[in-house]
Subunit: 490 residues, 2 copies
């Protein structure tokens, strides 16, 4: 194999880093903390975008675009919001470069200083709510259901490709409603969109729940989230949906005339999902040979590799493959025929395994004689010789099966690595081994922080399901209404 | 009408500004020079993106994503490039905010100063070529055909919605090739893609040509462009494609091993098209009643307005409309049924005229009796009563006719406002009246600048067509090989 990567069991972290680079998903750029998303990685992100965008539009949302820059005074208007983001803001202070007078090169022109500094958006609530003020006068203007695809910047000190980068790509939904109930329903609806996307497209099971006050979005009254388990047993927050209450409406004076002709503050939500999901996709499914991509997100679903010893053999295979390609494409399947002569079949097999192409077909001279083809599935690493006739239907069914199998495998892994724990001693032992811990918690930030300090585990969420079992806190022994999900997290 | 706009003949500039705002395309934000693209405007931009992206992919390009920030030293590596952009750079100097110690609010933390300032990309050649250095080793890595959809920032002092904004959205293609010929062919191919997009999608005829050295992209050996005429007779540069020679390859040391086993510098191109095209779309076609959008880019192609005096009548119309909507959608037509009771039909008609919906159907009780419908086309402002039967085919044909008619009208306008001029006195008279002037030019920057100073007209391009007519320069009287296009421009 041309590009070996470390095994997960040896060094999970390096396995991830090397895989992301060698499978051509992304790489570090010369700019600290900012990544380059390479064409193959970006084509997966495009599939994610398309799937999400369709769901947003089906639920009545429209796209728009708001400025990259936020005046410092705007960011400061919602107190807890600015407190949450102040430490990681990229700040624009000047608007011109010039030649240094001493000839030493290009310098920032000190005379071109901005009157007010601009923050490169870490998220867009403030600039959007300052706009909504002009868009909303009456209940007729509500609900306002808007999404934006954008880049955002959070000046992270320790970065990792996709998982934590100074600049990342995301979508951010920002909606405005006449009542708290409507806004809460929207918050919940969009969480469900994310969960559907994670489970049905990414084949990644998620736990839906509520964040504790400590982990809430800066400026929200409530943060809902989906949490996924990675193959090292750590949690990854895979999408959040925030009920903003009237916080931003009050900060930006966004009021509307209700049906009862009363002036009221608007209720808000925001929700976001980012290129972090690319990291989750890798960490949830892939193996020591490379990526495993669920068919619904695979840029290439089927690769066909010809096996030949002469130009005549290659021509014969190519002739057989051509109508198959047409048929597969008609069935909505993306297929690549790799007849390049730069590399041998074995090298190609390894390359497409590395890149996670779900189905590989190999066709040689003997297959032509027998009317067969070798069909290999990436996820289980099995292969079988199957008749050429009826191949398209077979592949359609196989892709469907692969999608489901990947999901089921991840679900079984999560279930096998989820532990119901009742004592803090057991908790401390289990957290070192990894996995999710379902434990009772007394509902206080003090306990949450003490547990975090002693175990590095955080409360990932208070799950929607399983709300009815009461007990006593694993740490304090105080009463608890339900178990919550603890884990170490990315 | 609810939202009257000024007439073009009264104040073309205000007509444009008001139309962009009132048709919900865009508005100014609180951030100097940065616009908000509103949902309706953004849905047109999405259609533009989709059409272009498809063409890029058909010509073998892949999308990727590169960092928003460019280290100052990188921007400075190509001398003419930095000279071209230095005066309009947004500069990030700090990475943190904090609470002022005197309690006066949030300030930039002076201790969080970047070692090297970062420029918010005005264009991405430098950061991309610094990446290509690692991607290109051999001729096998070429050509490298990559596009990026991104936001860029150029600190403009005088801004106008879409036409000139500090932040704008665009795509930028960046390709690398083994030979100058291949790079030149790519430069020309992508200009042709832009021209096809302008003419077939935007219904806007363009002149293809080469920029003079004065108007060339900073860092390019050659800039090709398409130029369109707006309704006030001014020119608008609608897309540019640059042959970069080996300039960026040399600045970033990007070399490859050729088939002949020689180390050579790579040849490059870049090409971009931006949200400026939204401004061009408005200025090229729209009228005093509002937008005229070519059907291929219209977010809503057909609007159906029910005419009724009772709930029974509305129900009867709705029942008739429902299967029609299904049929239209099956034919790939985007249709909206506006049965809201907040506004009267006359108000709705004006609203959809303002928003440029190409076809409007009105159906009332009498139409139901007669099996007819009133069909109005936005571009010609004509309406006719037509049979309900066969409506879908009629509308398909009508949309096609509207697309062509809009193009032909713009072409006829350009032809009527293009003048062949041979003396500088005539030139000065004509330029005040507007339009394109086809005149001979001696090929020197001095003459170009003198004409610009005296008339505010620039050379829009040296057109590919009409290259064979020689003559004498309209200003200097010196020999000239062909006429060039002069105009005042946006």
């Amino acid at each position: 194999m041309a590009k070996a990567i470390p095994a997960r069991s040896e060094d999970y972290s390096e396995w991830y880093n090397e895989l992301v680079r060698k499978a051509d998903l992304a790489e570090n750029s010369a700019v600290r903390g900012c990544m380059v998303i390479k064409p193959y990685g970006f084509s997966i992100w495009e599939k994610m975008q398309r799937a999400l965008d369709d769901m947003f539009k089906e639920t009545g949302h429209q796209n728009a675009y708001f400025p990259l820059f936020i005046p410092k005074s705007y960011l400061s208007k919602e107190a807890s919001h600015v407190a949450g983001f102040a430490k990681e803001c990229a700040v624009v202070t000047h608007y011109r470069l010039k030649n240094a007078e001493d000839g030493s090169g290009i310098i920032v022109d000190p005379e071109a200083k901005l009157e007010e500094e601009l923050i490169v958006r870490p998220t867009s609530e403030t600039v959007i709510w300052s706009t909504y003020k002009n868009w909303i006068q009456s209940y007729r203007d509500l609900p306002l259901l808007i999404n934006q695809w954008a880049n955002v910047v959070r000046w992270e000190m320790r970065t990792r490709l996709f998982l934590r980068t100074a600049e990342f790509l995301w979508q951010e939904g920002h909606t405005a409603h006449a009542t708290a109930e409507e806004a809460q329903a929207e918050t919940r609806q969009m969480l469900e969109v994310y969960a559907t996307f994670a489970e049905e497209w990414m084949a990644m099971p998620v736990i839906r729940g509520t964040k504790t006050a400590n982990e809430r979005f800066a400026g929200a009254d409530d943060t809902l989230c989906i949490e996924a388990m990675m193959q090292d047993g750590k949690a990854l927050q895979a999408g959040t949906s925030h009920f903003l209450g009237q916080n931003f409406a009050k900060a930006f004076e966004v009021q509307f005339l209700s049906k009862q002709n009363k002036l009221e503050y608007v209720w808000g939500t925001s929700w976001g999902l980012s290129t972090r999901m690319m990291g989750a996709l890798v960490m949830a499914h892939s193996d020591d040979d490379g990526l495993i991509i669920p068919p619904k997100l695979a840029p290439i679903q089927v690769v066909i590799v010809p096996i030949y010893r002469s130009d005549e053999q290659l021509d014969a295979v190519s002739e057989k493959v051509k109508p198959l390609m047409t048929e597969l494409r008609k069935a909505g399947i993306s297929v690549k025929y790799d007849n390049s002569d730069s590399y041998k079949p074995g090298y190609k097999f390894a390359e497409y395994e590395l890149r996670g192409v779900p189905v590989r077909l190999a066709i040689g001279a003997r297959d032509l004689e027998n009317g067969t083809v070798e069909m290999a599935r990436r996820d289980l690493k099995t292969k079988e010789t199957v008749p050429f006739d009826g191949l398209t239907e077979r592949i359609v069914a196989l892709l469907d099966d692969i999608q489901k199998t990947i999901y089921q495998k991840a679900l079984a892994f999560r279930e096998a690595n989820t532990f119901v724990i009742d004592t803090f001693d057991d908790f401390k032992v289990q957290i070192e081994k990894g996995g999710f811990i379902m434990a009772h918690w007394d509902g206080t930030s003090e306990t949450e922080e003490a547990i975090k300090e002693q175990t590095k585990a955080t409360i990932r969420c208070i799950p929607f399901e399983g709300a009815n079992e009461s007990g006593t806190c694993v740490y304090s022994g105080k009463p608890s209404a339900q178990r919550v999900v603890f884990a170490r997290a990315y």
